[in-house]
Amino acid sequence: MARSNFLALAILILLLGLWEVACWIFTIPVFILPPPSIIMSTAVLRAPLILPHAMTTGLEIICGIVLALAVAIPLAMGMFAFPWLEKALSPFLVTSQAIPVFALAPLLVVWLGYGVAGKILMAAIIIFFPITVSLLEGFKGCDREFRVLFRLMGAGFWQTMRLLYWPWALPHFFAGLRVGVTVATIGAVIGEWVGAQSGLGFLMIQANARLKVDLVFAVILWLSLMGLLLWYGVGWLEKKSIFWRNNQQILE
């Protein structure tokens, strides 16, 4: 643990060092790739400017996740309850992934206006697929013997869902959620490119048009940190939720 944290830090410093040195040696222009020192100082110094935009994007992502969950959970349950429904819907789900969402962005703007709704939908579209698929896999992975038991206990579908399938699928669910939240930032950012008044995507385009490339990269840094935060946040939530896996020591 300590060793790997140390290594991660070492790799990080090495990469940043190489990048910094490369910028100076090859005199890579700042407007193509600013050195990390400049990016970081911009990210810190311009925090008062960036923070409100980050809050907008953060809000969009959180709402996107909630919306995605609101769709993914009933969908996965439905497809689990009716295998023919799964077979019937899976081509549509796959197709929904192959559609480049940014192409729908202008449409969403027309339907939902320039508020946060369109961005939330964008993030949700990107997240819901991995969640649905992994939740369904989780449900399906439940051992047959447990199903027999619940059958004989006379448990109904909803009861079995709540007491058995859902906790059973939790580890899968979190795996899907973890993948989902990482790319959710991209969904929100694409949404913001299409039309927005605030948000990190908006700030990024604005900075780019003004050729303030250091600010563009500072925003990317913030976005990456938000992605990491979400990743580890979900990991933390997973650990708390699946409490029965925490300490596997056995009382003998």
Binding site: P29, V110, F202, I205, N208, R210
Partner: protein, 288 residues
Amino acid sequence: QKLTLMLDWFPNIDHLPIYVAQEKGLFAERGLEVEIISPSETADGLKLAASGNVDMAVSYEPQTIIAASAGLDVKVVGRLIEHPLTTLLFLKSEKIKTPKDLEGKKIGYTVPGLMDVMLKAFMSINGVENYEAINVGFTIVPALVAGNVDAVMGPFKTYETVTMAHQNLEADYFELEKWGIPDYEELIFVCGAKTLTEKKESIRSFIQAVETATAYLRKHPEEALETYLKALPEADAKVETDAFHLTLPFYAAPGGSNAAAWQQFADFSLQHGLIEKPVVTEDLIHIW
């Protein structure tokens, strides 16, 4: 000699002289082999030209001034469209006759960082105080039709008007230069300072070829258009034809940019917050 040219946006009717020069062999007869590339983003051309990764780029005067102010070492070497095409565009209606009528309305703009500043300048020059500015990206027409905004800053009077007409929508607009914004050159050619010294002759030949093509298209507009449509099969012939006739007066006449006019726009930019550091346009413009 090979030259790479990055456009400001995807190929469109504004670039017709370049395609005519390419297809009619005007580059080839000057010993040039020109590769035309689309950018992912309008600022890409300036960055890549300044760093020497493309030889030349098509850009806008306002964005070039921003780049110069940001310290990018670029030179303006020629002109493609010599007056603004950018407008504040809206669906034709009795309600909007002068900019004053935009009081209290929702106004969209296309490029944050550029068109939002232009909009602000336009509104303050024309004494409009209350309005809501919204970034609509390039979803201009749907935003207008759906009523999300009442007008949009950024569309070209030679292009969006035509596409709208083809959808049976009648457009009206305010031309910026007629409402207090200094005249500027919509599309120009830039290259990196280093590229200019290294490939001076080729770049001069390129500019000459484009000027020759422009002269040709004035004489033979129909043939020029046909040449262009052949080079870009994905273009919609009917729309492009109408757009071409509207754009025809704006293709740049031979001769370089006017440093004094540029300086006027640069000063305007500084005054309205488009740039933060002053720009001396004499150093920016290369006179052949």
